[in-house]
Point group: C2
Chain length 234, copies 2
């Protein structure tokens, strides 16, 4: 019984994911695409935000969206109606997107199969410049998986409460930017930006905070400017 190999299944999975994440990064660099992983609780406002971003940018950039859902295609239809190029991925019960699924989504959006061997102007102009991944609504699991994204964007809606960085620390640790959504109703839910920032700073010094309301448009400009700079970055 001493010669039995013990497999660390989790470590194996992480290593495999890292391999795919490297492939994602190489693919993004080759295609000159910026890729943003959007993570939040269910109902925080991810889809509404994406619609606002698509509306604001559609004359400037071609936008792609990978919609990750356990099962449905509700969000994909909404986002598509706003003019984005959409690919729907069903995770079949899985609670997060990993880099392998992401790579498949990116290739589908960039027409990898259709435009193989071709580099016509049409193929280039229809290729998205900014691609968003709308991850599964979940503050735990998606934080654990590197999808190879350039930016990890976390949304927190004010009805969820300003204590969330204390309770879901990994998500707030990995975030590059945090969009505090539904800021127009913060008062109703006794959500304090000051308390939120204090709680956030116990787990992260890097994340920038953008309070906004996708509904009223308040605060949206600054977040859009951040994304614009990211899109134009080489």
């Amino acid at each position: 019984m001493t010669d039995i190999d013990i497999l660390d299944v989790k470590a194996g999975l992480e290593e495999e994911n890292e391999g795919y994440a490297r492939q994602v990064r190489a693919f993004l660099a080759e295609k000159d695409v910026r890729f943003i992983n959007v993570m939040a609780s269910p109902g925080a406002g991810k889809t509404t935000l994406l619609c606002r971003i698509i509306d604001a940018f559609k004359d400037k950039y071609s936008i792609g969206v990978i919609e990750a859902d356990v099962d449905s295609d509700v969000d994909a239809r909404t986002v598509q109606a706003h003019g984005a190029k959409v690919v729907q991925l069903h995770t079949g019960g899985s609670c997060h997107m990993d880099a392998r699924m992401t790579l498949a989504g990116l290739k589908a959006l960039c027409g990898e199969a259709a435009s193989a061997g071709s580099s016509s102007d049409t193929a280039l102009s229809s290729r998205p410049k900014l691609i968003f991944l709308e991850n599964i609504g979940n503050l735990v699991c998606p934080a654990e998986f590197d999808t190879g994204a350039d930016i990890k964007l976390v949304m927190l809606s004010t009805p969820e409460g300003d204590d969330k960085p204390l309770k879901y620390p990994l998500m707030f640790t990995v975030a590059d930017i945090i969009l505090v959504s539904k800021i127009d109703v913060a008062e109703i839910f006794d959500f304090s930006l000051e308390r939120f920032e204090k709680n956030l700073r116990t787990v992260s010094n890097k994340a920038r905070i953008f309070p906004l309301s996708a509904k009223t448009g308040k605060g949206l400009e600054e977040a859009l400017r951040y994304l614009e700079q990211a899109a134009d970055r080489k």
Copy 2:
């Protein structure tokens, strides 16, 4: 290469969990305790609801709470201040409670170690009659794990939107009762109970719906009556 055993890791985990869930059920029957698994998104109002339940029942039943958190003890302190017997379980990054963790929590709450071999009146009276598990805030993973609970209680807050049964179908399929919380602000978020019920009925015919506001107390009575009947059931 033909004699290699192939292990279905997921099936193995499920089987192991089912074994622990059976132990949980036997333990609950032996101790005459009713056990309720409370599941919801982050910030849906699980802790506030539990505080209201404890306040309402504390002269009638001894209440126990298993607080499952990735890392913190914010909720455990809140619930304890309302007079419940609390045990804090840290899942260490895990996105759900399984039956093994649950069994450990139940034994700790029922003073299994301390009162072993004793059946004094004190031990009996301090033993909780109703035990709540406040699961990790997550609409995906906790739905997959049977914790051995008598009742699966799902909360959905109106800011999350009335389309959630379509997007997190398993959670709404397994639910015995659904508490639609923050009903006092439903209008602000264009949440329609009718649409919610229509969406729910596409995945479940069994779940009863209780709209309520833990903040204003509206609708709370009916949910409390349901829990009271459950507590008194043999």
